[in-house]
Symmetry: C3
Subunit: 343 residues, 3 copies
């Protein structure tokens, strides 16, 4: 169970309550009234705790689990340990998300106001919003209601932050307009100048970066990620995106809604991603590309061309996944053949 030094449980909940919270169905004949005191992983869950099975890698952990209650796909019922109450759903991970959020709702804002922070006299801080110690809020900043600005965060002059946003410790945000329910994790750098300069024989002349960063509603941005502001137009991140840690997003990049960008991806300037594009870890994009809606790109790929909507790609340079798999198999086979000959 979660460490009580860090997390406070809102439980217990009955199995019936968990079913309602999660939309999962209680398996026929299982105990509706059983009280569940906490969430836990399959391998440590006890008889009064609820766990879940989503990734098929963990089916045997499920079968061996002592969890009192488990959220699973109906097809996995057959693998269930005896005595475990089952909550059945086609989307166990989603159901678990709702259950976990019921046990451990996001911590409420402790109190309104600012606390040993440096808030400029012209900044406006919304109702029930809190600015933590050491944070620096600049002139004419507008922060919505029920927001939290973490310790030692820096919010630059003129920045606008919507309602219900959470800005983590040591984040900096400049030249940016954020929607509502945005979460920015520790050390992210929003709105630094992009990598723009004109090169001459005598050296590089910096081009003033005059745009902004616009971030949509319900988007989350990972720790130590960097999103540069536009050069003249804006850098735009859509609604509901999930951007992981240590990602680099260059100036004038446009991300659609619901994009998933895994850690250490780099997106060069002016590249545009459609809605719900999924990008694996450590992928790189050249600049000025257009990537269609729903494209999926495997980890470590290097994308150098426009990609039409809907395909799956891999490799550096990135090619259609099917083609890449055959290419990789071919190279492996030839390498083995040579290895047999030589060695």
């Amino acid at each position: 169970m979660p460490d009580s030094r860090f997390y406070s449980s809102a439980g217990p909940f009955s199995v019936t309550q968990l079913s309602e919270l999660s939309g999962a169905t209680i398996a026929t004949g299982h105990d509706l009234d059983k009280l569940v005191h906490d969430v836990a992983p399959l391998d440590t869950a006890g008889s009064d705790e609820v766990s879940f099975l989503d990734n098929p890698l963990y089916v045997s952990a499920f079968s061996d689990s002592a969890a009192g209650v488990c959220i699973v796909h109906p097809e996995r019922s057959k693998n269930a340990p005896e005595g475990t109450v089952l909550l059945l759903t086609e989307s166990p991970y989603l159901a678990y998300a709702n259950v976990a959020a019921a046990f451990y709702p996001e911590a409420a804002i402790v109190k309104g106001g600012a606390d040993a922070a440096f808030v400029h006299a012209t900044a406006s801080i919304g109702k029930d919003s809190y600015v933590a110690p050491g944070a620096v809020v600049g002139a004419n900043v507008e922060i919505g209601d029920r927001c939290e600005v973490g310790p030692n965060a820096v919010i630059g002059r003129g920045v606008v932050i919507g309602d219900d946003c959470r800005v983590g410790p040591s984040v900096s945000i400049q030249y940016a307009i954020l929607g509502a329910k945005v979460r920015i994790f520790a050390g992210a750098r929003i709105g630094e100048p992009g990598f723009g300069f004109a090169s001459t024989a005598e050296g590089h002349v910096t081009v003033p970066q005059l745009g902004r960063v616009i971030i949509g509603n319900e988007t989350e941005i990972g720790a130590n990620t960097t999103i540069d502001r536009g050069s003249a137009a804006d850098t735009v991140i859509g609604d509901g995106c999930r951007i992981d840690n240590l990602v680099q997003i260059g100036h004038n990049v446009i991300l659609g809604n619901g994009c998933i960008i895994v850690s250490q991806v780099g997106i060069s300037g002016s590249t545009q991603l459609g809605d719900f594009v999924v990008v694996g870890g450590q992928v790189g994009f050249s600049g000025h590309l257009k990537i269609g809606k729903g494209v999926q790109i495997a980890a470590q790929s290097g994308v150098m061309n426009n990609l039409p909507a809907g395909g799956k790609y891999s490799g550096s340079p990135a090619i259609p996944m099917r083609q890449w798999l055959k290419q990789a198999a071919m190279i492996r086979a030839m390498g083995k053949k040579k290895a047999n000959k030589d060695g």
Copy 2:
């Protein structure tokens, strides 16, 4: 036009003034006296704004633009929209840099002194320099004239910063000597100990890192980039370099003047780059290499050998670009052949 919450225009300027500022020539017969109120990208510029065309990808945006004035290469005159005043130059991006800097000069230091910062009694802060709230300046630090140390930045004991430097929010600088006109963007980490240890059967023994980081004049260092200090000798970054975000530079690395290092590059310890080396995003270098002057390395390459001056390289391991292009074409062709066979 740039958002007035973040940027203040020094305009308007006449076409004649823009010609003088940028070195671009007014196209014959075009309106010398037209007043220009702002800069803007091609697709949003209006009749009283100036834009530019540099990247050939945007020729059609140029032809469709409603910009009142545009900076272009003479060869692109033929693509110009009717009625747009043209400023002609061989280097449109450079000319635009100068025009944009005239409209939006770097913000002047608001005021001298320190403001809710923690400045050690023995630190020396130059004339008209400003230390922002939450910044921490250690013992015996020397900061030149007209510098800005951003909110929550940390300047460690003994660090020397030249005139006209800008240190961004939440930056930390330790064990370092900076030249003049250096700009360090948010969250960069200058002078942390390098990755040095002696491994034994019982574990790793840390080797004290006793060098410094030396940064030349007019160099710019991106957000959340890390530059470790030397182990015994120094880590040295030359004059006029442009280093992007999330770059890693190991101990004892030496960069010449004017190097361009794109985002997420990693340079291992003791590797040396000559002047004006250009490195694409996500490239990795082994340690102890010597890379000649003017070498250009494509994104995602892995450099494992010394490289003579002037060549272009690609791939992991990196090989001459020409050779790599043929290799890539060959692999692609074989993969397709196999794909056709297999169906």
Copy 3:
């Protein structure tokens, strides 16, 4: 010699003392009583300084060195410059580590207590520990003895830090338990929520992250590195690990003891590394893998499968090093052949 603005020498030491400190043997007939005033690299060391030779790349620098004393492998005696006193050992780098640490011991904590920091009333700060200006220490934090919390660092509610730890400038630590003698360098982000969400047709639903980060004794974590907390179980980093800058470690990852993780590596969620695994720069790991004890992985590899203990791997996807070397040679040869034909 190290810059006295940053480093204070505890020297001089006699050759006999250095021999005792380092375990290296004084070469027969060499001057036992010679006084050594400092450490220095081979190329700048003077007659009263000690240097070392470890990397064979630098044998000629050794032969040309004016160092008064040098630590070397006995087999390198023959390359020694005339007049240099030799300290002989099988492990010159380890011996140098001990000598350098004698000259430049880690700076002692200047004073106990907190200094313009924001320490919550319920936090407990150990004996002779120091919290630097601008640091923010949350409720119920427990910090051991002889620790240093750097300027503008943030220690979240409930965090436990063992004795003799050093937390660098602008670090943030949340939901974490640290052992003794841990060093965390500037800007590292420990304990942010992992990348966990359930995707639906309407968008992504965030899964509460309810675990911790557990860090073993004597582990060091590089600048701007990110280590996410567990989702339900914990993220665990063993004893004596060396993690470089800008590394990403996902939720529920488990690292054994003594692992070496070079810069810009990304380890996806729930992957487990055994003891003394060595990972080169920019390597990526898929999630849910098990990597055996002592595995070594070359830079820029992409690890997509479980790996048994003890092997060496390279490539993306990663394959046994021997096989990869042959594959790479084969591709190179074919590319050259094609280049000759075409060009």
